[in-house]
């Protein structure tokens, strides 16, 4: 099952084949961890953009990302607390974090318009990959109804961000 998740994310080279070894579908504690990690990664990317970019549209977009993902992750934390689920670190989360750190370093070397374009392009690709992972893997694998429902709302948020990022990208050309 993890193979299809990987296929989606590998498309933007976020996931190395090393993370895809296990065949089992993710458990709820793992899904919670992956979803939360995906939010944290996007917040870190946005904070980098806020620090580096001088473009009004790009900064506004980054602010939207911080605001939304912080709100969703707070809701996710409230839910896991309520359900008494302890988010469990796993290879997918670890690989996501590792690759995101690499992307931050890569973008960190760019400046000005070059940075803006690369950041927004990565936001489109990243949200696309997470959408696909949510749709094909995380939502179908979730057992708890409330977790599933939160992931479904999360999917709509990520799809919205993807379209928003596409609009910002179009404006940069």
């Amino acid at each position: 099952m993890f193979v299809r998740l990987s296929a989606a994310i590998a498309a933007v080279s976020l996931l190395s084949s090393a993370a895809l070894a296990q065949g089992a579908k993710p458990t709820d504690p793992q899904i919670a961890h992956i979803a939360y990690t995906a939010g944290v990664i996007d917040i870190a990317a946005a904070k980098q953009a806020l620090a580096k970019s001088g473009n009004k549209e790009v900064k506004a977009f980054a602010e939207d990302m911080v605001r939304d993902h912080e709100a969703v992750n707070k809701q996710a934390l409230d839910l896991v607390k309520k359900l008494n689920v302890k988010p469990e670190d796993n290879d997918t989360s670890r690989t996501l974090s590792k690759n995101a750190a690499g992307k931050l370093a890569e973008l960190g070397k760019l400046k000005g318009a070059e940075f803006d374009k690369a950041y927004v392009a990565n936001e489109v690709a990243y949200h696309k990959a997470v959408d696909s992972a949510l749709e094909t893997q995380l939502i179908p694998s979730a057992n708890n109804a409330e977790l599933k429902s939160l992931l479904q709302t999360g999917l709509k948020i990520f799809q919205g961000h993807e379209q928003h990022a596409e609009q910002v990208a179009a404006g940069l050309k």
Binding site: D64, V72, Q152, T153, K156, I157, G160, H161, Q167
Partner: protein, 105 residues
């Protein structure tokens, strides 16, 4: 005879009453990134009550540029429609949220 200033006040009150009697309030809700109703109807002068039930901020942004309303998380914001027409609008933060407001003259 009533003091001179009474008449304009009475007139203003009557006018206000006649306006509020005509104008309706239309509720549009945003919940789980869905706008409902997907197509709402109103008349010029009506108040739209934009109810945001999400933990996220949303906007109702007219595609034709006529208006934009921003709703903080879990808040209700009102606006008055003052121009007739069929307006398609969306949320700028989540452009997958789309709906139509038909405003009759």
């Amino acid at each position: 005879m009533a003091p001179r200033w009474v008449l304009p006040i009475v007139a203003a009150l009557m006018l206000a009453m006649s306006v509020s009697a005509d104008a309706a309030t239309v509720q549009i809700t945003m919940e789980n990134l869905v706008i409902s109703p997907a197509e709402a109807s109103a008349k010029v002068g009506d108040t739209i009550e934009w109810i945001n039930k999400d933990i996220l901020a949303h906007t109702a942004t007219a595609r034709n540029g006529d208006w934009e309303v921003t709703m903080p998380p879990k808040k209700t914001v009102t606006s008055v429609v003052n121009k007739a027409g069929t307006v398609e609008y969306y949320c700028r933060f989540h452009p997958n949220m789309k709906a139509t407001l038909v405003i009759a003259p």
